[in-house]
Symmetry: C2
Subunit: 343 residues, 2 copies
């Protein structure tokens, strides 16, 4: 049956509404899309679409607006990811090339994403939990304080300062410290962070009882650094784009801003996206499990180095969003930042 034309009508409604942000009626629709039928036919189709819960009318006598389900159908079956021009791709690559270190890469990525999509961009720092230990350094700071520095293969560095039970400024103390440094590195380097924590636990047994306090203190602080959840950091950009789209949020942007401040929430959003393959994930309106984000959509994906996918990035905006181009931007940025990180 005309099932196919009805979907074409839905597609047209979504496209028009995204562009004009006004409810679209049967007549306006005919002006902009030359479906080969009359207004009355479109009206009938619309009635069916409404019954199926794909579109809704704000008031009796206004045009129709897509529902979350309508957008869902649109992204799943009625749209394809819009290809980017090679000029755009080149611009992305060039902008990311200039980064000097990991912080800078992440910073540029998030800014770029916000600019491209004109929406709020969210980038997760490459997650330590999937990364491995590259080196551990012990730096004495005065007689009884020690800085423990953990260097991860993604380039991130974690440090802790601890009080040591022994005086390290003696030659004897220095020798001990050298031994501890060597053994800690021998056990941990190359291990994934979680495994490293495990293989360090029994380290104290290898030392003289008099030195175990020191070893335990070092291992303890490493444990701390290894599991510390702060590594799961996210960075935001483009928050002001929310104000531009202010009218799209039924209440106000307050709840959205609140959600954006709760980085745990954002991490979960990016995290659950990861269940899917390496495709771009889209979560629309009420599909978001968090109150306050129920009138927003999240377009996200993974990025990282090779087989070792390490983090997520994405954008957040009103459900009334240009999904095809947003998805294209997210995918392109993820691709290029991954490429940069692989070096």
């Amino acid at each position: 049956m005309s099932d196919e034309r009805r979907l074409a009508v839905l597609r047209a409604i979504v496209q028009d509404y995204v562009q004009t942000s006004e409810p679209v009626g049967s007549k306006a629709l005919l002006d902009r899309h030359h479906l080969g039928v009359s207004a009355a036919t479109v009206r009938n189709d619309m009635a069916v679409l409404e019954e199926e819960g794909l579109i809704a009318a704000p008031h009796t006598s206004a045009g129709r607006v897509p529902t979350d389900a309508g957008y869902r159908l649109f992204v799943d079956r009625l749209s394809s990811v819009k290809p980017m021009s090679s000029a755009e791709r080149a611009a992305i690559a060039r902008f990311l090339e200039g980064a000097v270190d990991l912080d800078d890469v992440v910073d540029r990525t998030v800014r770029l994403l916000a600019t491209l999509t004109r929406q709020v961009a969210v980038v997760q720092y490459p997650s330590l939990t999937r990364s491995s230990v590259r080196h551990i350094e012990l730096v004495p700071m005065g007689a009884t304080r020690l800085m423990v520095v953990l260097i991860v293969n993604t380039g991130r560095v974690e440090q802790r300062v601890i009080e040591t039970p022994r005086d390290l400024s003696t030659t004897d103390g220095e020798a001990t410290l050298g031994l501890v440094r060597a053994k800690v590195n021998a056990r941990a380097v190359g291990e994934r962070l979680i495994d490293a924590a495990a293989s360090l636990t029994s380290l104290a047994d290898e030392f003289d009882p008099s030195e175990r306090d020191l070893v335990r203190a070092v291992v303890g602080s490493l444990d701390d650094a290894l599991v510390e959840e702060r590594e799961e950091r996210v960075v935001l950009a483009g928050t002001s784009n929310l104000a531009r789209a202010g009218a799209d949020f039924p209440l106000s942007i307050g709840p959205v801003l609140e959600a954006l401040e709760q980085h745990v929430v954002l991490l979960k959003l990016l995290g659950t996206a990861r269940e899917n393959a390496d495709a771009v994930s889209v979560r629309i309106g009420h599909e978001n499990p968090y109150a306050g984000l129920q009138s927003t959509s999240v377009v996200s994906t993974e990025y990282g180095t090779g087989a070792d996918l390490v983090a997520g990035l994405g954008v957040l905006g009103p459900t009334r969003m240009d999904y095809p181009t947003t998805m294209a931007s997210v995918r392109a940025v993820a691709t290029y930042v991954s490429r940069i990180l692989a070096q």
Copy 2:
């Protein structure tokens, strides 16, 4: 003359308007403050205040609202910083005590400030340019790559990875590296960052010509890390508080959000505050040099360790703000975070 009473009227207007966010008229004013005079007298005073540009009427027949100049006079002469209860002080101290490292201190500080003031909080990272070098570590990563780690006395760590011109995996290479490490530290440790950069420049001269390439590479990356402006980082919290006070912004909160994303702007705001003594600085409305912040006020101060003041913190909100309590919170938080950092 009744100059004094007129100021009392101004004070009352500011207080009422801050609380109710509605223009305050002569009658409403008498209900809430028992000035010993009649409404007509207050009206006369108001007329004078308006002529002096301290208050203004949104429309002919509405109450009066303080102007930026009115707020200025209020904070300068009509209010005192509200003292905090010892319970509040204790709560602040307790919350900040729990921090595990510098990042955590800054993070807790900014959150605390946002919660206390119910406004947008801005905290600058302790600035490296005023800090000194505590230690420099050189960590080989494979044969021809070297990680240069700079540890600053504020606890911050900067790292760079460089390609080395020499193979460092040989015993010979390791010896050279040890020598470089020792000399670099000898020259730089304890120096202020800017001075350290200067005293390192001639270091290559002390080495064999065959080793100078390596030394130059190390020094170059340190130079880079020492002057890198990213150290001048700021952290935000409480952005969602802007939405709550939405009605206070004539246009929309868009421009404000934009300004908040430009960290350079925020740094300048905190930076210029520093010209004043160690008091709390207040910049009201149009006193802010940045378009987009002209309907906001910034309350800021310095914090840091002892004589070595290293950074600024503050809050940003609508000009209609409870200045006395906000100033008290800012001052208290600065005091306590400084105390924590001094350890």
